[in-house]
């Protein structure tokens, strides 16, 4: 028993003893995946600024991570993140928030900053429901699910958030579930090093709200469901849309080079200084 310490406990804020997540919540697995990426890169949390919105996923960095953390308004973390990047261009700015926060109320900031391809990392924890407020339907809730605001079953088409972000112009997009925690860490490492808007969608289990409302019994069963429905990008490429129905395509979906906003701003400033002379 002597001398074994959890390698990631050193990243936790001293005043915080444990998380407020429900038992079995996927948030903690994602928190570890992020911290493991920082650890494996040999980086320090001082190299980062974290921003989160409102919702359970937003409590991943706040107050847990022993770093500069901005826990802000619902839907807006990406906008603050842009401001922080403007002022601290050398720091890695990472947004960790949920599907409702980033794709519903925050949708506009998500697509515009993907369009700008501004250098930042955005981790979207997709639990397919509004968990913190007691289980309401969100923009990723599959049709037919009975939630507190869709008591007769959800009647809307859901987003494929990764596709949305790819269309908007992000240069790095990946999708995983909490079952692929190691692969997630590898993608986070790439995202941290990416000179552009790096977006990672992570399907995460919400056993208390989404699990109960969709008939999945508990965290372990939800993770097993993710495992069975996950299919790697390469394999999915050979399948028809019908065959892909109800599957979760996981892997790195896009990784391209394109102009990044911070670089473009530097070029613009140089032009301004030249003309001023």
């Amino acid at each position: 028993m002597s001398g074994i310490t959890h390698p990631l406990h050193r990243f936790i804020r001293p005043s915080v003893s444990s998380t407020t997540n429900c038992p079995g919540c996927g948030n903690g697995i994602i928190a570890q995946s992020i911290l493991r990426a920082v650890d494996q890169l040999g980086m320090d949390l001082e190299d980062f600024v974290f921003v989160s919105g409102i919702g359970c996923a937003a409590w991943i960095p706040s107050p847990f991570f022993n770093a500069d953390v901005l826990h802000s308004l619902h839907g807006r973390p990406i906008a603050y993140a842009l401001g922080i990047k403007m002022g601290l261009p050398e720091k890695k700015v990472m947004v960790v928030s949920g599907d409702g926060d980033l794709a519903a109320i925050g949708g506009n900031h998500l697509i515009h900053n993907a369009r700008r391809n501004v250098e930042m990392i955005v981790i979207c924890v997709n639990n397919r429901i509004y968990g913190m407020t007691g289980g309401q339907a969100g923009p990723t809730t599959p049709p037919g699910v009975m939630t507190t605001t869709t008591p007769y079953g959800s009647f809307e088409n859901p987003f494929d958030i990764s596709c949305l972000v790819i269309s908007a112009g992000a240069s790095f997009v990946a999708r995983w579930t909490t079952v692929q925690a190691r692969e997630l860490t590898r993608s986070i490492i790439k995202a941290i090093q990416k000179k552009g808007f790096a977006f990672i969608e992570v399907f995460s289990q919400c056993p208390v709200q989404y699990g109960r409302k969709s008939g999945l019994n508990g965290s372990v069963q939800m993770m097993e469901d993710f495992r069975q429905r996950s299919i790697r990008v390469k394999k999915a490429a050979g399948l028809t849309e019908a065959e892909l129905n109800n599957k979760i395509v996981v892997g790195e979906l896009v990784d391209i080079e394109k102009p990044e906003m911070m670089e473009e701003i530097e070029r613009m400033k140089a032009k301004a200084r030249e003309r001023a002379q």
Binding site: M1, S18, P23, G28, I29, Q32
Partner: protein
């Protein structure tokens, strides 16, 4: 001498969570009878000798409540 360490006060219990039990391929854990401070049932390490240090329990624990000593001596 186990290469596993459980942080009892961080664990949220085998009924609500139980992920460590599910991911361990060597059946090291079983639902325990001991309660932690918060009233959660802790997992019990019943077969420490079977542990292969795959680290799955550590990686998938949402509460960072399990640590596995690194077989390559990194820590």
């Amino acid at each position: 001498m186990s290469n596993l360490r459980l942080y009892p006060d961080l664990c949220k219990g085998v009924e609500g969570c139980g992920i460590c039990l599910a991911v361990c391929r060597s059946r090291v854990f079983k639902p325990g009878l001991m309660l932690n401070q918060k009233g959660f049932h802790l997992p019990e390490i019943v077969k420490p000798e079977s542990c292969t240090s795959c680290e799955d329990c550590m990686i998938f624990c949402p509460d960072l409540a399990i640590a596995v000593s690194n077989k390559f001596g990194k820590r």
